[in-house]
C-alpha cells in the first residue's frame, strides 16, 4: 500500500466521522426542540388554527389561550404551590442526600454495598403502588393536602439522585485535601466547610436543581395527595382533561416553560457537575 492510499482512507473515515457527529447533534437537538416548538406554535395560535392541518411554522401570536389561563381561578395558587413544593423538595433532598453521599464516599461501614442498593431500590416501586397507602397514612397524620406532605413524597423520589450525584462529587475530591486540612488545624466539620464545600458547591447546586425539576414534573402523587392545595401539574391534569385542544397545548406550555427557564438559568452548574463527575 502506498502512503497516498492510506491518507485517502483516513480522510474518508474522518469525513464520515464528522458527518455522523453532525447528524447526531442535529438529531438530538431536533428530538428536544421540535415538540417544544410545536407546543409554542399551538399555544400562540387561535383555537381554529390549532384544530386545522397543516400547521403554520410561524406562530400567530394569538394570546387568547394564555390569557384564558392567566384569568383562570386557582391557576396562580397552583403555580405558587408548585414552586413551594419544589423548593421544599430541593432543600430536603440535599439536606438528607448530601450527608448520605458523603458517608458513602468517605467511610467504610458494614452493609455499604447493600445501602447503595437500597437507595436505588426506592425507585423500583412504582408510585401508583405507593400512592394509596401513602394517602391513607397522610390523612391519618394530617399531612394530606399540604405542601410539606407532598414535598416529603417528592423528596423520596429525588433522594436516590441526590445521594448518587453527591457521592460521585465527594469521591472526585481526594481525601488527602481533607486530611491536609485536618493537619492544618481543622476539625472534620471545618475541613468540610472550608475545603470540601467550596469545591462541591456547583455540583450540589446541580443536584438541587435536579430535585427541583423532579418535583416540578411529578403529577401522580400530587394528584392523589392534594385536593385544595393542588400543584400546577395536578391542577392542569384535573382541568385539562375536559378542555378543548388549544387549552391543552397552552396548559402544557405553561408547565414546560418555568422548568426550562430555571434550567437555563442554572445551566452553568449543571455543566460544572458533569465536569466534576466525569473526571
Amino acid at each position: 500500500m502506498t502512503d497516498a492510499a492510506v491518507n485517502d482512507v483516513s480522510v474518508d473515515t474522518r469525513k464520515s466521522g464528522r458527518f455522523l457527529y453532525g447528524a447526531s447533534v442535529v438529531f438530538l437537538c431536533a428530538w428536544v426542540i421540535v415538540p417544544i416548538y410545536f407546543l409554542l406554535i399551538n399555544t400562540l395560535s387561535s383555537p381554529e388554527t390549532v384544530n386545522s392541518f397543516p400547521k403554520p411554522f410561524i406562530p400567530e401570536f394569538d394570546f387568547g389561550s394564555l390569557q384564558f389561563f392567566a384569568g383562570f381561578s386557582g391557576m396562580l395558587t397552583a403555580l405558587k404551590n408548585s414552586v413551594i413544593v419544589a423548593l421544599l423538595t430541593m432543600i430536603m433532598s440535599i439536606i438528607i442526600g448530601a450527608p448520605a453521599g458523603y458517608a458513602l464516599s468517605r467511610f467504610d461501614f458494614p452493609g455499604k454495598g447493600l445501602f447503595r442498593m437500597l437507595i436505588l431500590l426506592t425507585r423500583a416501586f412504582p408510585l401508583p403502588l405507593l400512592a394509596l397507602p401513602l394517602a391513607v397514612m397522610f390523612i391519618q397524620t394530617g399531612l394530606d393536602d399540604t405542601a410539606f406532605g407532598l414535598a416529603l413524597v417528592h423528596t423520596t423520589l429525588a433522594i436516590p439522585f441526590a445521594v448518587l450525584i453527591t457521592f460521585s462529587l465527594f469521591s472526585g475530591i481526594p481525601i488527602e485535601l481533607e486530611e491536609a486540612a485536618w493537619t492544618l488545624g481543622c476539625t472534620r466539620l471545618t475541613a468540610f466547610t472550608k475545603v470540601v464545600l467550596p469545591l462541591i458547591l456547583p455540583g450540589i447546586t446541580a443536584s438541587a436543581i435536579f430535585a427541583f425539576v423532579i418535583s416540578w414534573n411529578e403529577v401522580f402523587a400530587a394528584a392523589v395527595l392534594t385536593i385544595e392545595n393542588r400543584t400546577l401539574t395536578a391542577f392542569l391534569l384535573q382541568n385539562l382533561d375536559t378542555s378543548p385542544l388549544h387549552l391543552k397545548f397552552a396548559g402544557g406550555f405553561i408547565l414546560v416553560v418555568p422548568a426550562l427557564i430555571f434550567i437555563f438559568a442554572v445551566r452553568k452548574y449543571l455543566f460544572a457537575m458533569w465536569g466534576i463527575a466525569n473526571r
Binding site: 491536609a180 492544618l184 469545591l199
Partner: protein, 347 residues
C-alpha cells in the same frame, strides 16, 4: 521538646500486615529519614504518627505525651503529603496561610510568614496563582511551604522533593535541612532516594516489608549494614556477596582464598564487600571481567567469580577488557559477614 516515640506500632489492612511491631525513638530536633522500597509501609507509618490512620496496636508519644488518641490538629505536627494535596480553590498565598488563618493569627503575621517560607521555597512569584496553574514541582514546593509556615514541633514529609529536577532538588535539600535545623524542628522524612537519605539524615531507618531493619547514622548504615537486605539495598551498586566455608577457627574460605572472619560454628556464611573496597593486587579473589562501564569518575567492572556476579569499582585509568582475568584484594577492615539463615550481620 518534641521527642517522638513509636512503641510496638502494628497496622494491618484486612489480612494484609502493612507494619509489624515498629519501635523507634526519634530524638528532639533529629532529622530522621525513612528509607525503603515502594510499598514497605513508609507512608502508613507517617500517617499513623499524623493521626490520619489508626494503628491496629501500639502507642505514639510526642514530647512525653501519648498522642495516638488525639485528632491530627492537636498533635503539634505538620505534614507534607506524597501527592501534595494543595487546595485547588485557594491561591498559593491562601494555601500557605491556611493553617495560620485557622490559628487566627493577625493578617500581617500571616503575610510575614507566608512570604518568608515562599522565599525559602523559591515560589514568591507564584503567590497569586491557583494550583491548577502550577507545575508538579511548584505544587510540591507549595505543599512544603504550607507545612513550614505552621512552624510545628514535628514535621512529617512524604517524599517532598520527589518531583523536582536534580539541580533544584539538591538546592532544596540543603535549604530544607538548614531551615529545619534553625527552627529546631523534629523531622521525619520519607524518601526512596538513597542519596537524599544519606545527605540529609541524622539517622536513617531502613524499612523492609513493614519492619525497620536498621536505624542508624548514614555512614553506619552504609558501612555496617545490620542485615543483608540493607547491604543489598543501599549503595549503588550495592554490596557483593560470596559464599564462605569454614577453614579453621575464625578462618573462612571464599572462592579459593582464606580470610579472617567471625568465630562461629556455622557451616556456611556470606562474605560481603563493597565494590569500591577492592584493589587489583598480586594476591586475592580471581575474577573474570564481563562488562566494563566507564562512568567518568571511575570504572565499573562487572565480573564473575564462580557462578556469582561481582561488581568492582576501579580507578578510571585502569585498563580492563571483557574476558580479562582480574585479581582483586578486598580491604580487610571493610569485609562484612552475614548469616544466610537469619540474613543478619555476624561480627
Amino acid at each position: 521538646m518534641a521527642e517522638i516515640q513509636i512503641k510496638n506500632i502494628a497496622k494491618s489492612f484486612g489480612a494484609f500486615q502493612a507494619l509489624n511491631d515498629i519501635n523507634l525513638t526519634i530524638a528532639d530536633q533529629e532529622f530522621m529519614v525513612l528509607l525503603g522500597a515502594s510499598g514497605c509501609g513508609k507512608s502508613t507509618l507517617l500517617r499513623i504518627i499524623a493521626g490520619l490512620e489508626v494503628a491496629s496496636s501500639g502507642e505514639v508519644w510526642i514530647g512525653g505525651k501519648r498522642i495516638d488518641h488525639l485528632s491530627p490538629k492537636d498533635r503539634g505536627i505538620a505534614m507534607v503529603f506524597q501527592n501534595y494535596a494543595v487546595f485547588p480553590h485557594l491561591t498559593v498565598f491562601e494555601n500557605i496561610g491556611f493553617g495560620l488563618r485557622m490559628k487566627k493569627l493577625p493578617n500581617d503575621e500571616v503575610t510575614r510568614r507566608v512570604e518568608r517560607v515562599a522565599g525559602l521555597m523559591h515560589i514568591e512569584m507564584l503567590l497569586k496563582r491557583y494550583s491548577g496553574e502550577l507545575s508538579g514541582g511548584q505544587r510540591q514546593r507549595v505543599a512544603v511551604a504550607r507545612a513550614l509556615a505552621m512552624e510545628p514541633d514535628v514535621i512529617l514529609m512524604d517524599e517532598p522533593l520527589s518531583n523536582l529536577d536534580a539541580l533544584l532538588r539538591m538546592e532544596m535539600r540543603a535549604e530544607l535541612k538548614g531551615v529545619l535545623a534553625e527552627s529546631k524542628t523534629t523531622a521525619i522524612y520519607v524518601t526512596h532516594d538513597q542519596v537524599e537519605a544519606m545527605s540529609m539524615a541524622d539517622r536513617i531507618s531502613v524499612m523492609h516489608q513493614g519492619d525497620i531493619v536498621q536505624a542508624a547514622s548514614p555512614i553506619e548504615v552504609y558501612r555496617d549494614p545490620a542485615a543483608k537486605f540493607v547491604a543489598s539495598f543501599i549503595g549503588n551498586p550495592p554490596m557483593n556477596f560470596l559464599p564462605a566455608k569454614p577453614a579453621g577457627p575464625s578462618k573462612w574460605q571464599v572462592a579459593g582464598q582464606t580470610f579472617d572472619g567471625p568465630n562461629t560454628d556455622k557451616a556456611v556464611l556470606q562474605f560481603a564487600i563493597r565494590p569500591e573496597d577492592m584493589q587489583p593486587a598480586e594476591q586475592g579473589l580471581v575474577a573474570t571481567a564481563k562488562i566494563v562501564e566507564p562512568l567518568g569518575a571511575h570504572l565499573l567492572v562487572t565480573c564473575q567469580i564462580g557462578d556469582a556476579l561481582f561488581r568492582v569499582i576501579l580507578d578510571s585509568d585502569a585498563v580492563v577488557k571483557p574476558g580479562q582475568s582480574l585479581t582483586l584484594a578486598p580491604q580487610p577492615d571493610r569485609v562484612r559477614w552475614f548469616d544466610p539463615d537469619t540474613t543478619l550481620a555476624v561480627a
